[in-house]
């Protein structure tokens, strides 16, 4: 299978959405049909390439791609002992994230074909969406720290512009400005950290840096400057303030992808903690493991309690996104806290990490689904205020079904995927510290409670006169939601294949720092 396309998959993974985005303003002048077709084609190709790449990674192991070298697989120059070029290193963890991004990109693009059809400047919208997709994909597959920074900037800028898309009311622009401001400060901190690492070790490749790292005082500061902004970007309490603002005002399809984008930041956080620093955190491993755990607990609890009194449905869901991010931080943080302890790691650490990583993919899917249903309601009713909504179950039954699937999944009700990942987290965290596990369960109950409220306010009750014109959403939106809902149901009914083939390799890849280094430096 060593065909032309297969050899250059990582490059094409980035080049395809970029190509789609660059030509979109020109294609957009040719009419709306051409524009929609181009957007659909771009999303389809991107998703296909992403899935193929993931498949290749799962079957043949880590994929390396070196930009500009004599051959794609030539990692080192012959007469030097370190990589000099930008390198994509796609291991199982990256593949997992690439799958998430590709799948939701496909669903979201299809959804937005009709959800956003009433607005102006749509070619800009789609170009931005593709840039966001390219940024997220680049973030998760790159093996170069500075390249990571670039893609971080692309995704945050495109995200901020998309958040501010509905400029008619200033609120969206305000949220976009907040997001852009915080992301830029965070990105600058990341850049400073890169500068600190580069000044000491003269390398930008993550594997090379990892092999050279000595954990001096500067490295500690660089760790802080890398970890805190990325934690901010994934929306961990107490730096979560941008999340509700942003998720509320963005168009729903964008919100669904912003969730994926913040998961990509989470990926960056894990990558830096596990791969770049990894064992070096041993003597202060408790500090950073507990950093993640504390952030996770705070996010879970404050997120869900802030969600309960909300009146805006998307704002409520945004707080739940914060809360769910807490589960991932908790799971992976427990893994990090026992990283130095091989026994505990094998006993429950890896399970906790598996739960956290499985929660990432589940969360991206069901949260995306929930945001899309909220967008569907907004599309038909023109409001997001829960006090005004009501009785939609009569007119939008399929939306209600999708909402129920998403809500039950996020609340961790058994036959859905949310329960599977939460179960893994509960059990393993209970062995680490029962207290944390109990908090996680309480949060789960509160989540269910608040979604009961949403469900009651939106769909239950007698049909209301002002929404008499509301009817079922158009087919593209339906298909977009169905893709995500299908994934939720399948992953809920058969979680073990996902765990075995996607999550466990990812956990091993994350823990195996030496393997990551050896893939490039060859055990030197």
């Amino acid at each position: 299978m060593d065909t032309f396309v297969m050899r250059h998959l990582p490059a094409l993974l980035i080049a395809t959405p970029l190509f789609a985005a660059f030509l979109m303003p020109l294609v957009g002048t040719a009419g709306r049909t051409a524009r929609n077709a181009w957007a659909f084609l771009g999303a389809l190709l991107t998703a296909a390439i992403g899935l193929t790449l993931a498949w290749k990674v799962w079957t043949t192991g880590t994929v390396l791609y070196v930009f500009g070298a004599a051959t794609p697989q030539q990692t080192l120059p012959p007469d030097a002992a370190f990589p000099i070029r930008i390198m994509f290193q796609v291991d199982a963890m990256s593949a997992l994230m690439a799958v998430i991004a590709s799948l939701s990109a496909l669903g979201i693009t299809i959804y937005s074909l009709s959800a956003e059809s009433k607005q102006s400047g749509l070619e800009t919208f789609y170009a931005m969406l593709f840039l966001l997709i390219a940024g997220v994909l680049g973030m998760v597959v790159t093996g170069d720290l500075f390249n990571f920074f670039i893609f971080l900037e692309i995704s945050s800028l495109a995200g901020a512009a998309l958040v501010a898309y509905r400029i008619d009311d200033g609120v969206a622009v305000e949220a976009g400005l907040k997001y852009a401001l915080l992301s830029t400060v965070g990105a600058l901190a990341v850049l400073t950290a890169i500068g600190m690492l580069f000044a000491q070790y003269n390398a930008l490749n993550m594997a090379t840096l990892a092999s050279r790292l000595q954990f001096t005082a500067l490295d500690k500061v660089a760790l802080v400057l890398l970890a805190v902004p990325l934690a901010m970007k994934c929306g961990a309490v107490p730096m979560h303030f941008w999340t509700p603002d942003t998720y509320t005002t963005a168009p729903s399809s964008v919100t669904a992808f912003l969730v994926v984008s913040s998961q990509a930041s989470l990926y960056g956080l894990f990558r830096i903690l596990y791969t770049l620093y990894g064992d070096l955190l041993q003597f202060s491993w408790a500090t950073f493991g507990w950093f993640l755990i504390v952030l996770g607990i705070l996010s879970m609890f404050i997120g869900v309690t802030m969600a309960i009194p909300q009146k805006d449905v998307k704002r409520l869901m945004a707080y739940h996104a914060v809360s769910q991010t807490g589960y991932m931080l908790l799971g992976v943080g427990v893994g990090l806290a026992v990283l130095g302890n091989a026994d505990a790691l094998a006993k429950y650490g890896k399970t906790a990490m598996a739960g956290g990583l499985f929660h990432i993919i589940n969360h991206a899917m069901y949260k995306g689904l929930l945001f899309l249903t909220a967008g569907a309601v907004f599309y038909r009713c023109g409001t997001r205020n829960l006090n005004k909504l009501g009785g939609l179950g009569h007119t939008m039954p399929w939306t209600m079904v999708f909402f129920m699937i998403g809500a039950l999944a996020i609340a961790g009700v058994p036959p859905f995927n949310g329960f599977a990942s939460k179960l893994l987290i509960y059990e393993s965290v209970f062995r680490f510290s029962p207290f944390l596990s109990i908090i996680a369960m309480i949060v789960s109950i509160l989540t269910l409670a608040s979604f009961v409220k949403v469900f009651h306010s939106m769909f239950m009750g007698p049909p209301r006169a002002e929404f008499a014109a509301a009817r079922e959403v158009p087919a593209p939106m339906f298909i977009g939601m169905a893709i995500l809902a299908l994934f939720v149901v399948v992953a809920g009914l058969a979680p073990q294949p996902f765990i075995e083939h996607m999550i466990n390799p990812a956990v091993d890849a994350l823990v195996d720092r030496a393997g990551y280094i050896a893939a490039i430096l060859g055990g030197r």
């Binding site: 805190v228 309690t305 009146k311 036959p415 007698p462 809920g492 979680p495 073990q496």
Partner: protein, 113 residues
């Protein structure tokens, strides 16, 4: 793949298919109970909902706004929310300051250990 032992959680197994089976069984039981109900129920009689003995409000008047749901919960947690909600000021400078604050905190912890 053994359907009885699908998801290995480290200490046990969990099978959503069994749960689905249980759900189906429960549903069947419910249907059976439902089918044993009165067959002579007539349309138009007893349709009006029983709301504490009061008359049914006008059409749409039975709508309960979302703010009223969990009113008691919110009221009992008032001291907690009174502290938490004002922190979400909505001012961008405060957002930046929180980020910097966490950074400074971690800097102290990191350099001290």
């Amino acid at each position: 793949m053994d359907p009885t032992q699908t998801l290995a959680t480290g200490s046990g197994y969990w099978s959503p298919l069994l749960w689905l089976l249980a759900l189906v069984v429960g549903l069947a039981v419910a249907l059976v109970i439902r089918s044993r109900g009165r067959k002579d129920f007539r349309e138009g009689e007893g349709r009006a909902p029983f709301i504490s003995g009061n008359k049914e409000p006008e059409q749409g008047g039975g709508h309960i706004p979302a703010s009223n749901i969990y009113w008691g919960f919110l009221e009992s947690m008032k001291s907690y929310y009174g502290r938490l909600v004002p922190v979400h000021t909505g001012v961008p400078t405060d957002y930046v300051a929180w980020l910097l604050g966490i950074m400074a905190l971690m800097l102290i912890i990191g350099l001290a250990t």
